[in-house]
């Protein structure tokens, strides 16, 4: 095991109550198992990337965290309170800019603040403070359609940050941007995160992006949507996207994802056995994820 092994290690359990606690969450769309027995803990101030191919349920999980999707099984809680719908402490950032096209940049920032009950002065103050942070000086009176894709994304980010949520939930926010703009957005987001240390859950299918941004990368696989590995990224920030160690880590995760894809879903026998065990334990609902890491779950080849 080379350098990469020490820089990318399975997550160790932390003490104290997690900010976000995802326990045995499952979700079905009719016959399709979108999520199967997902367990994730996110502590306050962590930047966690959910990484996986399309169909692995990462977006479903994010929407469940946002309270827009109610999972068909399991429990999601934030600060110990079960998530029952959208809440002011969690804010979703979309892949589309999702700006109000009839409002100027400034009005797009002000409107949600006013809707949340902030006074005009307070709202104006917050908007003024955020404009330079997301580099939109000189564009406050522009309309969204007059801006570039990257600028629109910065407005959306600014609009979210203005509300100062404890948790930012980001749904592949930079996937539609060109490579250079995306790289700028990574730097910007890292800088803002280092400043505010918000709890961030960031969904992406881009291994490289996950490693550039995250403290942790939760690797997921499809059919059924499940967690393969929960890894800590021990690289100092700001990270250089061309860093050799990072490139090497990305290669290994990609290999692992490919192997999981080829191996397909866990064997039916193991599947049934585990389901029976779960049904027996229905009232206790223990069975932490680590206990059942078996042959069916591909190993990332990192020291456990």
């Amino acid at each position: 095991m080379g350098d990469g092994g020490e820089l990318l290690v399975p997550r160790r359990k932390r003490r104290g109550r997690p900010k976000i606690d995802v326990r045995q969450v499952g979700h079905r769309f009719q016959q399709l198992v979108a999520l199967h027995d997902v367990n994730i803990e996110v502590h306050a101030g962590e930047f966690v990337c959910l990484l996986g191919p399309s169909g692995c349920g990462k977006t479903t999980l994010l929407y469940a965290l946002a309270g827009l999707v109610e999972p068909s099984g399991g429990r999601i809680s934030v600060d110990g309170v079960e998530v029952k719908g959208p809440g002011p402490e969690r804010l979703l950032v979309f892949q589309e800019p999702a700006l109000f096209p009839w409002l100027t940049v400034r009005q797009n920032l002000l409107f949600p603040l006013r809707a949340r009950g902030f006074s005009r002065e307070e709202a104006e103050g917050r908007a003024r403070a955020l404009i330079p942070l997301v580099h939109l000086e000189g564009f406050v009176d522009a309309l969204p359609h007059q801006l570039s894709g990257g600028m629109r994304m910065r407005v959306q980010l600014g609009r979210a940050l203005a509300l100062d949520p404890a948790v930012l939930l980001m749904d592949e926010p930079f996937a539609a941007l060109d490579a250079q703009t995306r790289s700028h957005m990574h730097q910007l987001l890292t800088r803002i995160w280092l400043r505010d240390r918000k709890t961030v859950v960031f969904v992406t299918h881009d291994v490289h992006e996950a490693l550039v941004l995250g403290d942790r990368v939760v690797v997921m696989a499809a059919r059924p949507g499940r967690v393969l590995q929960d890894l800590e990224v021990r690289l100092a920030r700001p990270r250089d996207p061309d860093d050799e160690a990072l490139v090497e880590m990305a290669r290994r995760i990609r290999d692992e994802l490919r192997r999981a894809e080829e191996a397909g879903a866990p064997a039916p026998d193991a599947e049934r056995e585990r389901r029976e065990r779960e049904e027996g334990n229905e009232h206790e609902r223990v069975a932490p994820q680590d206990d059942r890491r078996g042959g069916s779950t591909p190993d990332l080849g990192v020291p456990l």
Partner: protein, 244 residues
Amino acid sequence: MAGPLLTWAFLSRLGPWPHWLFPDPLAVGRSFATVLSDGRLPAAVARSLGRMVQGYGLSLAIGVPLGIAMARSAVVNASLRPLVLGLQALPSICWLPLAILWFGLSEGAILFVVVMGSLLAIAIAAEDAVAGVDPVLLRAAGTLGIRGLRFHLGVLLPAALPGVLTGAKLGWSFAWRALMAGELLFVAGGLGQLLQAGRETLDASLVMAVMVAIVVVGVAVDQGLFRMLELRVRRRWGLVEAPA
């Protein structure tokens, strides 16, 4: 414009029909100038537009919320949509007998016909527009915590406004037709009444002059007011490239 006018002038002079029944453009122009200067035309236009403000205003005030409700509530949709679509097939003038039974030969009867003539088209267009709002905007409003009246007036309505405006424009032309039909039928002032006055005095040139006035007012509002509003909204919303 010159071609049709010349043809009209020729037909009026050379046709087998009596000249007074088919006056030439000049006679119509003279009639137009007369009713304009003696104040009958301005008064009639003012009267008709006053009714439009009330009747059409009422249609907008009911139709837009009705359309939003049909788009947003499955219950309202299931119970009202078939009715709205069915009644939409009814020509507005067919409401007049019922209006006279209910309201008598009154202002109320005319307004009722105007409202029924335009309300449904406005509601259906508003429903379409709201149902077509980008779901990402609705999700964004949800996560940003924009709810209630602020959501309906601050997100849903502006997001649907381009489509609502198209429906409002259509509703205006429906309302204008319904009003003229209503005004024709009993003595109530307005342009329809002036048209009727022309018939009663066997003054075909007055009838034609008033017809011209009806077209002019209709086109002016449609092309002037609505066209301008639509263009401004579409520019602001980024639906057309604004000229650099």
